[in-house]
């Protein structure tokens, strides 16, 4: 029987989780305080995943970049492929939160969406956001 100690990354509580494994099979998961912790521990030992956040270039906007994230967590080993692909992505302002800036990133089947708003140049930011 093998014991693995993990720190859950789902929320800032950072629960210490102990997983007992028997030949690659999970026998028990303890130490988590919610369901997310159990899911995380199972995934972390079989197929670890992460949400990736970065920025992409924007043209014609009041900012040169906009922040983005993967719509859901992707396999950990795809993180650098994801960021590398996004280096070549350029979007046209205006950009709104939730806009898809790249689909099926690094072959994961996951879309990358904007997490910030960028107005076109010449538009009064204060006016555009909310009138």
């Amino acid at each position: 029987m093998e014991t693995k100690n993990l720190t859950c990354i789902n929320c800032p509580m950072g629960c210490s989780i102990t997983v007992k494994m028997d030949g690659g099979r999970i026998v028990s998961i303890t130490g988590n305080t919610c369901k997310r912790g159990e899911d995380y521990a199972g995934k972390e030992l079989t197929n670890p995943t992460r949400i990736v956040t970065t920025t992409v270039k924007v043209t014609g906007g009041q900012s040169n970049t906009v922040s983005v994230k993967t719509g859901k967590d992707i396999p950990k080993e795809k993180i650098f492929d994801c960021v590398r692909e996004l280096k070549n992505v350029q979007v046209q302002a205006p950009v709104r939160i939730g806009d898809v800036v790249a689909s099926d990133i690094a072959g994961t089947g996951v879309d990358v969406v904007a997490t910030g708003n960028v107005e076109r140049t010449g538009v009064d930011v204060a006016e555009a956001g909310n009138v």
């Binding site: 859950c8 800032p12 204060a126 909310n130």
Partner: protein
């Protein structure tokens, strides 16, 4: 548009509540004050947009408490900005508050209105905090280019689209430093080490895992920078182990060639305005001393968020700021007889922090004015495992809570119930303490 509200020139304008700062604290305070029935609210923000520091915190992990979903900083800010707009709350951007008088006259300036004075029924201080800089650290060496605070680097990378450098050493394991270790790595930099003076990390555990461990970046506890090499640009730094007194141990020096040093060595509440108006400051938090209503020693002046004490989680900032907004609303309503909120100089119950507990917010409770329950927030001074947080009402232990792990980097809270406090009519002191098993 709220930005184009009343003409503020001249000194005749008055608002029921003026909020200093349009970051997470100011936004949540404004929303809650409006929801408590206050029409006349003005937010003054010095940046060109609302949202404060959240706009550069593009990583995820925000909002699990507030929205039950995991958001990035800009998304979390946007939820509140939308609310502020939906509620038609007025705000001014690019506006710097210069001074607040004890009778709540706010002097501010911007390029459109020039200098103006606003009379406020109540003021909510929500100015946030700033980073401790190199000057506060006494690191020897020249002053070459390439030394940045972690937050400055975060702004450059995430907002301006610039990389501060290629080979990086980070001093301090605060959350911003950890987040930037990952961020710089994703952008192609080589982060060689994170050095932490203390024997434990100053950041959240989850950030050690997902920002350092994921990328094989070493965390060197009980280490500090003892030399910075380079005259025009950083060429390298020397790290050394420190003893229990924080003094470098001779013979443990290690040289790291690098072009960039990031500092993530603490945040300091930004209270120049508060001090200027005579608000009492707690030397431990560097934030205002407040009562259960988050009201300072000056009547009608409230504080919330990182200007009050530095938080780890924006969710808690939003909750605290919402309380400040409700209380400021009640104060304003009491002036016109609409509410029973009574300004008290009555002394109230003193909250004392001792043996392991560094401070509490608030530090005074007047049970008559508190809501049904009150969240007392505090930090501990060291790492404690399997210890109890105990709360004593005068001599009697009333709360005794087991905590598997407590660390200075993670804020703790205990909820006090009003009915519980009312059972002790002659109570003078509530003591918060850490007890070993």
């Amino acid at each position: 548009m709220r930005e184009k509200g009343n003409d503020l020139r001249g000194s005749s304008q008055s608002y029921d509540i003026v909020i200093i700062g349009g970051g997470p604290a100011g936004l949540a305070a404004a929303v809650s004050a409006r929801e408590s029935g206050i029409e006349s609210i003005l937010i003054l923000e010095r940046d060109k947009e609302l949202g404060g520091i959240l706009n550069q915190c593009i990583h995820n992990g925000f909002g699990l408490h507030t929205f039950q979903e995991e958001l990035t900083g800009p998304e979390y800010a946007d939820r509140f900005i939308q609310k502020v707009n939906d509620l038609k709350i007025e705000y001014r951007l690019n506006t710097m508050v210069m001074d607040i008088s004890p009778d709540r006259r706010v002097t501010a300036m911007n390029r459109t209105d020039g200098m103006f004075v606003i009379r406020a029924g109540a003021v909510i201080l929500a100015m946030g905090c700033r980073e401790r800089a190199r000057g506060a650290l006494n690191i020897p060496g020249y002053r070459p280019a390439g030394i940045f605070s972690a937050g400055t680097a975060q702004r450059l990378v995430n907002r301006e689209g610039y990389m501060p450098g290629r080979e990086v050493v980070i001093l301090g394991s605060g959350d911003i430093g950890l987040i930037m270790a990952r961020r710089m790595t994703l952008e192609g930099a080589k982060v060689k080490a994170v050095a932490e003076l203390m024997p434990y990390s100053g950041g959240l555990k989850r950030n050690i895992v997902q920002c350092l461990d994921d990328y094989g970046i070493p965390l060197k506890l009980s280490h500090t920078v003892v030399d910075i090499r380079g005259k025009e640009r950083v060429e390298g730094v020397t790290l050394a182990q420190v003893d229990e007194n924080g003094r470098p141990v001779p013979g443990t020096e290690e040289y790291y060639p690098c072009d960039t040093l990031l500092l993530s060595v603490g945040l300091i509440p930004e209270n120049e305005l508060s001090r200027g108006m005579g608000v009492g400051i707690n030397p431990v938090t560097s934030g205002p001393v407040v009562n259960e209503s988050l009201e300072t020693n000056i009547p009608g002046v409230f504080a919330c968020g990182n200007v009050l004490h530095v938080h780890d989680l924006v969710d808690y900032v939003s909750k605290e700021a919402a309380a400040a907004g409700r209380n400021a609303a009640a104060y304003v309503q009491s002036l016109s007889g609409e509410s029973s909120f009574v300004r008290g100089t009555d002394s109230g119950i003193t909250l004392e922090a001792e043996s392991g507990v560094r401070y509490t917010v608030p530090s005074v409770i007047r049970p008559a004015y508190m809501e049904d329950s009150l969240t007392v927030r505090f930090r501990v001074g060291g790492v404690y495992r399997n210890c109890y947080v105990s709360v004593y009402f005068d001599g009697e232990r009333v709360i005794h809570r087991m905590r598997p792990v407590m660390a200075p980097g993670e804020m703790e809270e205990i909820v006090l119930k009003k009915e519980q406090l009312l059972q002790y009519p002659s109570l003078k002191t509530v003591r918060f303490t850490v007890e070993e098993v």
